[in-house]
Amino acid sequence: MMWSELDTWIVITGALTAMACAVPGVFLLLNKQSMLGDAISHAVLPGLAIGFLVSGTRDTFPMLLGAALAGVFTGVVSGMIERRGRVEAGASLGVVFCSLFALGLILIRLAADHVDLDPGCVLYGSLELAVIDSASVPRIAWQSGAILVLNLILAGFFFKELQLAAFDPRFAKASGIPAGWLQQGLTVITALTTVVAFESVGSILVIAMLIVPGATAMLLSRSVAGVLLWSLAVALCSAVIGHLSAISIGPVFLSLLTGHGNLGSLSSAGMMAVCAGLIFFTIFALAHLAQRLFSRVKEHSVTPQA
């Protein structure tokens, strides 16, 4: 295995992206809106494409704007369908984000005929190519760093309000804290984060970065702040371990499995998501094992007295 400067940037960018996603992801999870994260990450696609078609360049700002609008649109419209149309929450989200995702694919195809926007890149990301940059710090690295910092600052400032809006939105509203607006804000931030992340991990894998670190952290901590910190740690670990295995054991393992010769290195973003999943299942299994052992010890300590 060869380690170059590019590998360092891949790991840094991947870690920053994963951590940036983990922050809104934790609050989506606490709001029981993980599906909304999934929906937004798909629904921003037409927003990206429209921003791109209108501006004609791959500048970040118009694409960000388009994607943020598409994200908010998803949240608002699916909420409206759910309230008015007697359609279950999951179904109304499904209707909205699948249509938007499909529309996005068509628009990107359309755009790709004129300018350089590759559907594959948008869907699966291109971490390995995106870090190749003439600047000393690749654009994609400082971009994901910036969105991480923004997310951390917002989570810090609105920590207690977000916590209350997630736990008991009715009480929040009754005591004068606008839970609805906080949730809209979370939607916007999720959309922005998704757009920045799509370049490195792609719009499909963003969902892994949004949900898995938070879900793992929920197994590890009993306070919202703890969950937030653990989710950052899990995101960081998935990025580092993911890239390492993508360039070392992954290809070896696969060539053994398939019988083909040298397969080169695997997709780093893909391996990062796989690692996040593996970390979740490991901790899930350990937590259950610990629980079972603990209850058995308890049983043993109780029986002699009986």
Binding site: L164, A166, D168, F171, A174, S175, I177, G226
Partner: protein, 257 residues
Amino acid sequence: MTSLPLEIRSLNVAYHRKMVLWDADLKIRSGRTTAIVGPNGAGKSTLLKAALGLIPSASGEILFYGEPLKKVRSRVAYVPQRESVDWDFPVSARDVVAMGLYKKIGWCLPVRSRHRRMADEALADVGLAEFAGRQISQLSGGQQQRVFLARALAQKAELHLMDEPFASVDAATEQAILALLKRLKDQGGTVVCVHHDLDTVAEYFDDVILLNMRVVAQGPASEVLTPENLRKTYGARLTLLDEAVVDLSRPGAPREP
């Protein structure tokens, strides 16, 4: 003239195009405990939620201390139904009670030790002093209900609106809630509870509002709880049931083998 803690005039609420509350008029008197009683689906919880602006109302006027809620929010505390939240949420009992102080603490500022102390005091008031640091999923149903009450206590409000605080709680919690109602009253506070148990309503509360989509009757418990009013609220079924109970309790009444 001093204004009432809560006055509602011709409130109409619809849910999915079905009327839930029909022209509800009611007055809550200061310094008293009031129960809102009625059959399932009578709109009891809806009444509280609509009064607090949590669900939209089609028409009607709602005044707290003679003003719209927005101006007097700090004087009103709300205790939602226990089942309305997820008790696996990663917070401690103290965290939940401190939520009652968030509005006072203000945006962007953290919960400080002073606030944690206030939360602990409120928890002690409901007999949960030693459970402050416990994760809320580790509490019994009754203890969870008391955590919710402590959160309202921490708000130091004058009017307390409680949604079914006595629903499926243990005897210790029931006593704790009763003691709390009495203390709030002694301090000059006003309490409104949605209540489901007709047997205890006269014993626990000063005033009663009988509700079944419309307000059937309201006033002091002894005046309101007449067979005539109860029949109007619950329909004929309750009377039949009552007679059956009376029948069975008579000596020599037929019993199941």
